[in-house]
Amino acid sequence: MNSVVHLSRRRFLALTGVSASGLLLGGFAGVANAARAGGDATGQRLNLFVSLREDGTVEIIAHRSEMGTGIRTSLPQVVADEMEADWRRVTVVQAIGDAAYGSQNTDGSRSIRNFYTTMRHMGATARHMLEAAAAEHWGVPQDQCSARQHQVIHSDGRTLDFGELAVAAAGQKVPQPAALMLKSPAQFRYIGRDLPIVDLHDITTGKAVFGADVTLPGMVYASIERTPHLGGRIAAYDGAAARKVGGVLDVVELKAPQGAPGFNNVEGLAVIARNTWSAIKGRKALDVKWTPSEHSDHDSEAYLDALQEKVRAGAGTVARERGDVDAALAAAGKVVEASYRTPYLAHAPMEPPVTVARVADERCEVWACTQNPQATQSAVAEALGLDKKAVTVHVTLLGGGFGRKSKPDYSVEAARLAAHVGKPVQVAWTREDDIRHDYYHSCSAMFLKAALDDAGNATAWLARQASPPIGATFDTTVTQLDDGNLSQTFGSVPFAVPNLRVESHEAPAHTRIGWLRSVYNIPFAFGVCSFVDELAHAAGRDPVEYWEAMIGDDRYLDFAPEGFAFSNYGRPIAEYPYDTARLKNVLRTLVATIPWGEKLPAGQGWGVAVTRSFLSYVSVASKVSVADGKLQVLEMHGAIDAGTVVNPDRVHAQIEGGMIFGLSVALLGQIDFERGAVKQSNYHDYPVARIQQTPKVIRSHIVPSDALPAGVGEPGVPPTAPSIANAVFAATGQRIRELPLSKHFSV
């Protein structure tokens, strides 16, 4: 488990059998020798995800990328459990990019929810084949043989180690999915247990291999100066001074194709050098002039002002409608309205994007810290005019991803340069590159308006937003959010309000908009969860009680009659209903763990928020103090109902980390554009939460559930910022409607 081992393509031969999820499940029926995999780190192939060496080592494929969620541990632990493998004898092998595995796009908080059942089938298939091999060996019926902790045991007490059965098991017929006996939860050995991550020792000793740790013989280093504004091209440049810098080998124009940005590189000028420092120094000596573009006047402050005015002033495209909002507002005794806005954000993973590429003999090999190796494969193949099969993508560990590393533009750069230079090339982004050339999280302007009756109950809910769409990154004609984007909290509000309307305005994109951890839920949870708190206070009611009243009766939500195409994070609503009982329960469960309603000193307050995102229900409660203009978050508490969980410790870690990511959003995150270019450049002017800004008290709770597994990586983020802003109101009476809070307080 000490290194990132890679499978060769030779292992992906014809497979048989299809699981319920459509993934190929089988091994090599009747072709035992074909199952002997290439490479010395591989054993007898039992199925797509499981191989077995004759020394008994079980190799389990991790096909999803590890960026800190623990997925390289959690999915293999599911396989090992069903297989009855001894976890101490398991080695995790990182997959290359290959469509045979199904989706490897590690984002959307979907690794467990989309592959939990598949991994159980993989483990159960292997167990079945081992039991069949033992039965054959002993000449007994298979039902007298059962696998248990790396042995197959006969009912008379005889045993065979898995290793002894490796060759025979690989030759067994692959069982049909219907024939598989899956464990009952009571039989689980690893599922639901806190297994340490497989990379723990390597990480704590510095041996873990991240993107920039890959070196190839003859490799050269590139540092790239890119257009400061979207659509800019090299107008003129002088590379003479750069070429004179010691260690610099070449200065290379990196052209960008026409059309939507997609996953292509932006235009740039690359300095190729013998080492990193020479490349950086050479780049500083470049003199480049860029052509203007339709985006080179983009000013984010003016842009957001205009969006804010638009959503306040007039009706937009209706995305969802129930009852008659206008009549209810006109008839109401009390109307509350508020405008909210949130800025662009950068991902800023600790490891900036980096790729090593080698192009030779009409083939390209890529080593990248990528969340999406298949998209990397496609984008590189397209850029080089190669067949996808001629591109191999090796996946290293990722030093954080948060959505940034789903976009393989940096791998395309390395591949293009490697093809040009004729040597292996490492493209390593500096932090400045990372902050200035991101796929930015969308900024957003929102307007919310509600009517209240005499008891303070909402009788109308009107919500309008304008935010540049992710879709524009791939199709420049897209100018507003679709129902899928709006399904992230804004359009999918669960409120039992008789009259409700959700509207959307156009917001043409002027930079590459991308998805960042929890995506549009970030602005929309801030607007929606702040506004519910505002309504509670306008009604003179306790916010927790008011949340429950807004959510209303226990029920499954049905959005279709209101004209809204709720995307439900890609899963059928019948499979993963939007269950208001679970939403209220996750709030109640959390509030029971904190002294909600306690008498606090002046300048302190509690705030709550609750959301459903990525099919999980999450509530966050924060306690803050504000004194002399200084805001300190004292406590953050989070609860998640994510259905079945595989590795509770990693779920706790994701909720802790999600809240701290949300803390950065709430307190600090802001990207500004001036004349088309990003103003910020590094962690000094794009700060993220540091230890001293992190509350001393952080608690996370997992609501026990045997429902289908739901998302974990992202759902901790959305409720965090509004919980903090609501706590600030409780502490000070000051309602903050624009993030980050550092605009209003010292943090």
Binding site: G68, G206, T276, R431, N682, A689, I691, Q692
Partner: protein, 153 residues
């Protein structure tokens, strides 16, 4: 130029202004020391220079000649330093990228102050960013090494 890293002496022909970080990574292949910002503000490249936690990305080779550098690879032979062990007991890492720097800062803190207060911990660790948000466990692991495991959150 000469330098001494993890008890071994090396010679390099790199320019004197080259930051130690790139000597460690590009030349010595001691890749546990990471690039995160290049400006001494994120802490991912923290090493011990004469025992003091130091950002290798802004320490020029010319300043290193007479000193002793210790990287994560040299903190212990087998990962058995008490801070490394505490990191594993508390399952601190998520992505892991910043953790070598965190461990180097924490081990320097504890070498000079075996009983740090919570404020001491925050102060000593304030130069090390973790974007995954492992700070609560970093605090717990340091408290644990200091014999204050009962306080761990």
């Amino acid at each position: 130029m000469k330098l001494k890293v993890n008890g071994r002496s090396y010679e390099t022909e790199a320019d004197a202004d080259t930051p130690l970080l790139w000597i460690l990574r590009d030349e010595l292949k001691l890749t546990g020391t990471r690039y995160g910002c290049g400006d001494a503000i994120c802490g991912a490249c923290t090493v011990h220079f004469n025992g003091v936690p130091t950002r290798a990305c802004r320490l020029p080779l010319s300043a290193v000649a007479d000193g002793e550098v210790t990287t994560i690879e040299g903190l212990s032979a087998d990962g058995s330093h008490p801070v490394q062990e505490a990191w594993r007991r508390h399952n601190v890492p998520q992505c892991g990228f910043c953790q070598a720097g965190q461990i180097m800062s924490a081990s320097a803190l504890l070498a000079g102050n075996a009983q740090p207060t919570d404020d001491d911990i925050d102060s000593a660790m304030s130069g090390n960013i973790c974007r995954c948000g492992t700070y609560p466990r970093i605090r717990a692991a340091i408290r644990d090494v200091a014999g204050r495991g009962e306080d761990a959150s």
